[in-house]
Amino acid sequence: MTTPIDKNHATKLLRQMLLIRRFEEKSAELYSATKIRGFLHLYIGEEAVAVGVMAALTPEDAVVATYREHGQALARGMSADSIMAEMYGKLEGCCKGRGGSMHIFDSSTHFYGGNAIVGGGLPVAVGLALADSMLGRNRVTCCFFGDGAVAEGAFHESMNMAALWKLPVLFLCENNLYAMGTAIRYTQAQPDIAAKAVGYRMKSAAVDGMDVMAVEAAASKAADHIRQGNGPYLLECRTYRFRPHSMFDTELYRSKEEVEQWKAHDPIEKLTRRLSDAGLLNDQDRAALEQDVAREVESAVAFAEAGTWEPVENLTSFVYSERREL
Amino acid sequence: MGEFRMPSLGADMETGTLVEWLVAPGTLVRRGDIIATVETQKGLFEIEIFEEGILGEPLIQAGQEVPVGTVLALIHAANGSAVKKDAVSDQPKSAPERFICSPSARRLAREMGVDLATIHGTGPKGAIQRIDIEHAAQTRIPPAVESAKHARTEPASHETLRQGMRQAIAAAMSRSNSEIPHYYLEMEIDMSRSLQWLEVENQKRTIRERLLPAVLLLKAVAKALRDIPEFNGYWLDNQLQIKTEIHIGFAVALRQGGLITPAIHAVDSLSLTALMKAMSDLIERTRSGRLRSSEMTDATVTVTNLGDQGVRTVFGVIYPPQVALIAFGRITERPWAEGGMLGIRRCVTATLAADHRATDGHRGSQFLEVLNKHLQQPESL
């Protein structure tokens, strides 16, 4: 590390990662208690990606996310309250309980969801960038997707169109090595995802997704490239989820040893160690952060618990704009 | 298991009075058997059955007046296996009676106060449709007569029956007059050849087998309808429905007054001998009030012959939904000019009354011309 660490910024990154971690641990607990239903895909282990990338974006930039998006939403700055209430299915949730865990949307932070069709968000991101390009808005659309989406036709179509039309898209691949339970070696002829950009004459890079500062640096570089009008960029963040794909997954496809090996690279512990080594964080600081985050999570749960159910009479609202019913 | 119901013998019949069971319970009956007699405002009818089986105990006793469609007796399967099979379908018997009826007609019937049980459906599979309700409503017997009918418990007197028949005729003829745009064509037909042929023919026959001139007229009409079929059929739902079968309604005056026009079936297919027999039988049974239901409802055209009354020309009123009525006056000797010569010929005036919605005068005159042609070739009739 040649550049000095900005203590405040680094502490903020750590806190965001901690918030995601504790928020999701609580979510798993609430899922077991049937407070949260449906599918629940946890991001634990991958926190450095969302936190590092969001640090490289401006509030005006757009984000298109996946169904494993609690971390992305929290890192983007959405309130834990509205996300938790959404997972409870309450009216006070960000989508009034219409979306749930997989469909978190927020117009105020330009957070375009929450897409549970693998690869489904990529063409939409291209379109958002097309609009920016045609309207002369200088902003980046950051499109998160996993290694599984790389196998979809939508990946190829979107990479091609974005490069062809030089659109300001940051293709952000969270490569956690498994498409649900199938390892990338069983799905990709070329498992080096960043290398695929060559076929589209697109700039790309791969980065250690367990290192939040490295992710932030790489994402900033990519965003700068895009903002300078050079077209899209593919950034592959090599990461790992510590928890099963979803709550209902016995993890037959990977060994406990492999998981333990990756846990040794826990992004939160990695950043904590680095800050301690630099003398920027002591145990009390870390404990204070934990307490602060715990309060926020508790508050989110209380908010969700206190939330209300939308009247069933509103069932058909938001099918068409202005509640036009057909 | 089947049901033997009070039949509908005409669109204007709402109820019938069971007069007599002609077959005892437990008897094996076959399709076409006459098993009861029923009295209506049109007279006494012999009621035939359309299925085979063992006649069950009567559900309606002689003397009872019931609406059309009422089950009079059950018909049980003739063998054990069929009974078993039918045992299942026996279940819904207690359910309210259902008629095949379009939803719209059902609503219309409710609005107009028409009892579906009294309606003869003309739609697909005999379904009652709007037009059937409309017809029924138009030909319905006025309430005064109706209430008089319902009030009685005894079989109707001849006087009441005649009154009812008069009402029915009045309704049908009023409807005809108001709905059907009639047009009339008449033709003087030389009957000399036909009558000469008939005289020779009758000399070969016993008195019982002798033919009346009316038989020639009926058969000639049937053959002419074969050639010009538009006059044989119904006007229904703004549409001419030409019928392939030629069932001629033959007007029979009743001794006590009134008129019934029972049908002689498939006249075009009958020999003159068979036609004479059918006609005699029909007249006899009409006057004794023993007509069959199919004879009451099947006519596709009507012929009226008032020749024996001395009338020369008849302007008939079409019986709806038929589209034509052919009338014959008295056969008389008339002066006849032909080939520049004046002679005396026996002639009849044939009048065609036809529905102008279905046909026009051009076609009508063709019909009379063809009729004339057939009457000039009696040997071919």
């Binding site: 469909h103 949307f105 969801g113 929450g114 489904g120 063409p123 379109g127 | 939803p103 609503r107």
Partner: protein
């Protein structure tokens, strides 16, 4: 208002083009995107000449990536533009069905009302040009199954000219299905022809004996049948649905309350089609107006065959319509 508005002869194709041109002129946010819409001039020549007039940004040729560019249209709509996305034929639109159903139709709902998608997708549909089983189906009835989108079916020059602008004003996704056999149809169009409503059905011919419910190219088969039947004294009312979603129930139910009979003529397949939906609605809301069972004439349940006589046999035909109407009106 000038009383004597002049009319001029034009074609369905030209009417669609004029509508696109007007939209491009009136609203800077509007652009056309699709396969071969620019340099080629449009597969059905609808956009011919527009590239020179508006340039490649707004008449945008796309790669053969239906899912990709329909999805991009959704994104562009979310991003503030008013895209007109052209899909070459309805069969190809299946490659974009994921985007249409999973994104365009659902984003507003999933986001709790935060993100609406003001997108118009146009595509050719229908058989009749011997294009066989991958270019000629009529799947608009399928799309009408999907809540969250509108499905339009312009049959006339006025609608070809006028539906697009109204669709572009709609805050939600609108799919416009143009039957490929109509593009060459010529007729007179008023010089003042402009936007039309996209909510209601129209009675294209009045009659008292039976209601024919149809849309798109089948409208003309129904009108021809009605003319022939009038010669036989049967007065047929013909209803052009115009919109398959929403369906204008009121118009056809009112008609059936007068005629008491309904026959649906639909170029889609029968099983589970829009004709089944309409029939069900008549049962639900107009049962007591019926004097005969509702009947349907649809495309035979086969993939559309290539050979001309086979294709004709598969599609609704005028003689079949005439025979069916006669049977229904004349009590079987």
């Amino acid at each position: 208002m000038s009383g004597a508005q002049s009319a001029r002869k034009t074609s369905y194709r030209e009417a669609v083009k004029e509508a696109i041109r007007e939209a491009l002129q009136k609203d800077e946010r509007v652009f056309l995107m699709g396969e071969d819409v620019g340099h080629y001039g449009g597969c059905y020549a609808v956009s011919k000449g527009l590239l020179a007039e508006f340039g490649p940004e707004r008449i945008r040729d796309t790669p053969l990536s239906e899912g990709g560019f329909v999805g991009a249209g959704i994104g562009a709509a979310l991003g503030g533009l008013r895209p007109i996305v052209e899909v070459m034929t309805v069969n190809f639109s299946l490659l974009a069905l994921d985007q249409i159903l999973n994104n365009a139709a659902t984003l507003l709902h999933m986001s709790g009302g935060q993100f609406n998608v003001p997108l118009v997708i146009r595509m050719a549909t229908g058989a009749g040009k011997q294009l066989a089983a991958q270019h000629a189906h009529s799947l608009e009835g399928w799309y009408a199954h999907i809540p969250g989108i509108r499905v339009l079916s312009p049959a006339t020059l006025e609608d070809a000219r006028g539906m697009l602008w109204t669709a572009l004003q709609d805050p939600d996704p609108v799919l416009i299905f143009e039957n490929n056999t109509l593009y060459n149809m010529e007729g007179n169009l008023s010089e003042t022809a402009g936007p039309v409503d996209i909510d209601t059905a129209r009675i294209r011919r009045s009659g008292s004996d039976i209601t024919l419910i149809t849309y798109s190219a089948s409208l003309y088969k129904c009108l021809d049948a009605a003319t022939a039947l009038a010669g036989e004294g049967i007065e047929v009312e013909v209803i052009d649905l115009r919109s398959l979603r929403p369906l204008d129930d009121a118009t056809y139910l009112e008609s059936i309350s007068r005629t008491n009979r309904a026959l649906i003529v639909d170029e889609g397949w029968r099983s589970g089609g829009i004709s089944a939906e309409i029939s069900a609605r008549i049962m639900e809301q107009g049962f007591y107006d019926l004097d005969t069972p509702v009947e349907r004439i649809c495309t035979a349940e086969v993939p559309i065959p290539y050979a001309r006589h086979m294709e004709e046999a598969a599609l609704p035909r005028i003689d079949t319509i005439i025979d069916t109407v006669k049977r229904m009106v004349r009590h079987g």
